[in-house]
C-alpha cells in the first residue's frame, strides 16, 4: 500500500512537470542546445579516436544540464507547502516519506526521460544528417554516458529538492539553486584558479592542491569520467586528468575506462543518493505549517 502511494505521488509529479509550459519550453531549448552544439562539434572535431563521440559537446552538457535538475526540484516541496496542498495531502492516508519519495522518484523519472530524449535525438539526428558510421563500441559508450549524465544532473536535482525542503519561498529556492549551479557547476574551477593564484602564486594546472579541491565539484568527476579532463567549467582548468580520455577514449576498453575512473563514477552515484537521503530526512523533520 505504501509503495503504491509512492508511485501515485510520483505519477502526479511527472504529470505536473509534463503539463508545465515552462518546463516543456526548457526541455525543447535544452534539446536544441545539445543538438546544435553536437552538430557544430562534428564540423570541427577531427582528431578523436571516434568522431561521433568526439562530436558530443560534453562541455555544454556539463554546464547546462544541471538546469534541468534545478527546474525539476527547486519548488518540489516549497510549492506544495506554499499552496497548502501538502497539508491536504497529509490528511489522506499518506505518510511524509511517501510524499518525498514519490516526488523524488517522479522527478528522477522525468529527468531520465529528458536525458535519454535529448541525447538520443541529438545523436540520431547527427547520424541521419552526417551519415557517419556508428558501431557497437560507440552505442555502448553513449549508453554509459547517458547514465553518467543522469547521475550528474541528479546531484543538482537532489540539491534542488534539499534546498526546496529547507527554504520557505520558491523564489529563494530558485535563487539559491542558481547560486549553487553557478558556483559548483560553472565557475568553481575559475574561482579556485583565482584563489590559488592569489594565495600561492601557483598557476600550474597540475598541483595536488588543485586536484584535491576540484574533487568537491561534481563537474570535475563528470568531466574526468567522460572525457578525462579535470574541469569543463567556464574559465577553469584545462588539462587532462588521466592518460585515458574518459569513456569516450576508444583506444581503451570500456572496462579499462571504468576501472580508471571508478572513484569519479562512485562520487557521481553516491552524491545524489546522499543528497536525497538528507532531503528525505529534512522533509520528515520539516515544519509544514504555512
Amino acid at each position: 500500500m505504501k509503495g503504491r502511494n509512492v508511485f501515485v505521488i510520483a505519477q502526479k509529479e511527472v504529470a505536473d512537470h509534463l503539463q508545465d509550459t515552462g518546463f516543456l519550453v526548457l526541455l525543447a531549448i535544452y534539446t536544441i542546445i545539445i543538438f546544435s552544439s553536437t552538430y557544430m562539434s562534428g564540423s570541427f572535431v577531427h582528431q578523436e579516436s571516434s568522431m561521433l563521440l568526439g562530436s558530443i559537446n560534453v562541455k555544454m552538457i556539463a554546464m547546462f544540464a544541471p538546469l534541468i535538475g534545478i527546474v525539476l526540484g527547486f519548488d518540489a516541496v516549497v510549492r506544495e507547502q506554499k499552496s497548502g496542498s501538502l497539508n491536504v495531502l497529509l490528511t489522506h492516508p499518506l505518510f511524509r516519506d511517501n510524499i518525498i519519495a514519490g516526488k523524488l522518484l517522479g522527478s528522477m523519472l522525468v529527468l531520465a526521460a529528458i536525458i535519454i530524449f535529448s541525447v538520443f535525438v541529438s545523436i540520431g539526428t547527427l547520424l541521419i544528417f552526417y551519415g557517419v558510421e556508428i558501431g557497437y563500441t560507440e552505442i555502448i559508450r553513449i549508453f554509459v554516458f547517458t547514465i553518467l549524465t543522469f547521475f550528474y544532473v541528479s546531484i543538482f536535482l537532489g540539491a534542488a529538492v534539499l534546498i526546496s525542503t529547507m527554504v520557505k519561498d520558491g523564489t529563494d529556492s530558485l535563487t539559491y539553486n542558481v547560486v549553487v549551479w553557478l558556483f559548483i557547476g560553472i565557475l568553481f574551477g575559475a574561482i579556485l584558479k583565482t584563489a590559488i593564484a592569489i594565495l600561492t602564486g601557483d598557476i600550474s594546472n597540475e598541483s595536488v592542491l588543485i586536484t584535491q579541491l576540484l574533487n568537491m565539484a561534481p563537474i570535475h568527476h563528470f568531466a574526468e569520467a567522460v572525457v578525462g579532463r579535470i574541469d569543463l567549467g567556464f574559465g577553469g582548468f584545462n588539462s587532462a586528468g588521466s592518460v585515458i580520455g574518459g569513456i569516450f577514449d576508444t583506444e581503451y576498453t570500456l572496462t579499462q575506462c571504468l576501472i580508471e575512473f571508478k572513484m569519479n563514477i562512485v562520487v557521481l552515484v553516491v552524491t545524489p543518493a546522499i543528497l536525497f537521503i538528507i532531503a528525505f530526512i529534512a522533509f520528515l523533520r520539516k515544519d509544514i505549517t504555512l
Binding site: A10, Q11, K12, V14, A15, D16, L18, Q19, G42, S43, V45, H46, M51, L52, S55, G106, L109, V110, A113, I116, F117, F120, V121, I123, G124, T125, L126, L127, I128, Y130, G131, V132, E133, I134, I139
Partner: protein, 401 residues
C-alpha cells in the same frame, strides 16, 4: 697404225711428265703427311691470318714418328708461327702403333704498313724419316679487306634530355677462328659529355677491354650522359674497338639526340597502395604510400606532401623528411585519410607529391568517395523513434493528473 701407237706412247709420257712435275704436296715415302686445304688468304695490313694444317703419320708406319715445323721463308717484318691449342709449337710427336693426326695452325701477321700485294710464306715440315716437305702459303695483303671483327647496335640512335643519361646496347662479334682481345675506347664525343662502357650483366662495372671467343659475340653498354647546357640537336658518339695485338679495329657511331621538349623521367616516384577508396563521413582509413628513388643519385630530405581537400583531413605518419634515399631504395609511409563528419557525399581527389632537395615526383591522385552510411542513418532514425516512443509512453502513463 704406227702413228696411232706413237700417240698412245706420247700421251702416257706426257701424263708421266705432268705427274712428275707437280709440287710435292705430300711425300708418300715420308713418315708423315701434311694436308693443307687452304693455302691462300686475304688479310688487312696488321691483321692476323690463320691457315689450318693437318699432319698425319704415314700409312703402314707403326714406329714412333716426329715432325719439326719451321718457317723457311717470309717477308721482312712479318711474324709467322705454328700454333696448337693456343700454344706456339715447333715440333710434333706421333706415338708408335697408332695412326693419328694433329691439327695445327699457321698464324701469319703482316706489318701494319705492308703495301697491298701477294706475299709467299714457305713452311718446312721435316719428318724424322724421309724428305722435308715444303709448303707455300700465299697471303694477299689488301687494305680494303673486311676485318673479322664486327660491331653493331640494334638501336644506334636515342633521344634524351640534357643531363639525363641513356644507355646504348652494342654488340661486338668475333668472326675469327681464334679468341681475340680488344680494347674499347671513345673515338669521338661532344665536349664535357660522360661516356662509359659498362658490363651488360649488371650495368655496374666499367670495362676497358673485352675478350671474345672464336666465332662468338659479346654485348656491352655504352652509357652516355650529355652535359647540362647542351642545346637541342643530334650528337655523334663514336665507339672504337681495336684488336689488342694489331691496333686495327672497328667503330660504331651512336647518335644521341638532345630534346629539351620530351617529358622528363622522374627520379622520385610515389605509388599509393590504393588509388580509390570509399569512406563514410567521420571514418578514416590508413593507406601506405611507397616512395622510391628511381634515379642513380642519392636524394636528400625526401618528404611526402599532400594537398588538402575540403572535408578530408590527411595525416602523414612519419618522422618528418627522410634524410637520404639511395638509388633504388624505397620507403613506405603510412597516410591516414579521415573524412570529416560534415563532409557531403562526393568524390574528391587527394593530390600527393614527393619532394626532395634534388627532384620531385609527379603528382599521384587518390580518389576518396564519401558515402553516407545507410546503417548509421537507420540507427539514427531508430534512436529518434525510440526517444519519441519513450516520451509518448511517459506522457500516456504519467501525464494524467
Amino acid at each position: 697404225m704406227f702413228i696411232k701407237q706413237n700417240f698412245k706412247k706420247l700421251g702416257i709420257a706426257l701424263i708421266l711428265i705432268i705427274l712428275l712435275t707437280l709440287p710435292p704436296a705430300s711425300a708418300d715415302w715420308s713418315s708423315v703427311t701434311v694436308i693443307t686445304s687452304i693455302t691462300g688468304k686475304v688479310v688487312l695490313p696488321g691483321d692476323t691470318v690463320e691457315f689450318p694444317i693437318t699432319i698425319e703419320k704415314g700409312h703402314n708406319n707403326s714406329d714412333e714418328a716426329w715432325c719439326s715445323l719451321s718457317i723457311k721463308d717470309k717477308s721482312d717484318g712479318w711474324s709467322a708461327g705454328f700454333y696448337n691449342d693456343g700454344d706456339q709449337v715447333t715440333g710434333l710427336t706421333f706415338p708408335e702403333d697408332k695412326n693419328s693426326s694433329k691439327k695445327i695452325t699457321l698464324r701469319v701477321k703482316p706489318p701494319i704498313n705492308t703495301p697491298n700485294g701477294a706475299y709467299a710464306i714457305w713452311a718446312d715440315f721435316k719428318p724424322d724419316d724421309g724428305d722435308t716437305i715444303s709448303q707455300e702459303f700465299v697471303v694477299n695483303v689488301d687494305s680494303e679487306a673486311v676485318l673479322d671483327l664486327d660491331i653493331y647496335s640494334d638501336m644506334p640512335g636515342l633521344e634524351t634530355r640534357p643531363n639525363d643519361p641513356v644507355e646504348f646496347y652494342v654488340t661486338l662479334e668475333n668472326d675469327y677462328d681464334h679468341r681475340v682481345t680488344a680494347s674499347i675506347n671513345v673515338a669521338e664525343k661532344p665536349d664535357s659529355w660522360d661516356v662509359e662502357f659498362l658490363e651488360e650483366g649488371n650495368g655496374k662495372y666499367r670495362i676497358t677491354k673485352t675478350s671474345i671467343a672464336a666465332n662468338d659475340k659479346q654485348n656491352f653498354i655504352v652509357k652516355v650522359r650529355p652535359s647540362t647546357n647542351v642545346s637541342d640537336g643530334t650528337y655523334p658518339v663514336i665507339v672504337d674497338v681495336a684488336l689488342e695485338n694489331s691496333q686495327i679495329g672497328v667503330s660504331q657511331q651512336l647518335d644521341l639526340t638532345i630534346n629539351r621538349g620530351i617529358e622528363e623521367e622522374k627520379m622520385l616516384t610515389i605509388f599509393p597502395e590504393s588509388k580509390s577508396i570509399n569512406l563514410n563521413p567521420g571514418s578514416s582509413r590508413e593507406i601506405v604510400v611507397n616512395l622510391r628513388n628511381s634515379g642513380d643519385r642519392t636524394l636528400n630530405n625526401v618528404e611526402l606532401k599532400i594537398q588538402g581537400v575540403s572535408g578530408i583531413t590527411t595525416f602523414v605518419r612519419s618522422f618528418g623528411a627522410i634524410d637520404e634515399l639511395e638509388p633504388g631504395e624505397s620507403r613506405e609511409i603510412p597516410v591516414e585519410i579521415k573524412v570529416r563528419a560534415d563532409a557531403s557525399p562526393d568524390t574528391k581527389e587527394i593530390l600527393m607529391r614527393a619532394v626532395s632537395d634534388e627532384a620531385e615526383s609527379e603528382d599521384e591522385r587518390v580518389e576518396v568517395s564519401v558515402v553516407k552510411s545507410s546503417s548509421g542513418g537507420f540507427i539514427g532514425i531508430g534512436m529518434i523513434i525510440g526517444a519519441l516512443l519513450l516520451l509518448v509512453f511517459i506522457v500516456s502513463k504519467f501525464g494524467r493528473r
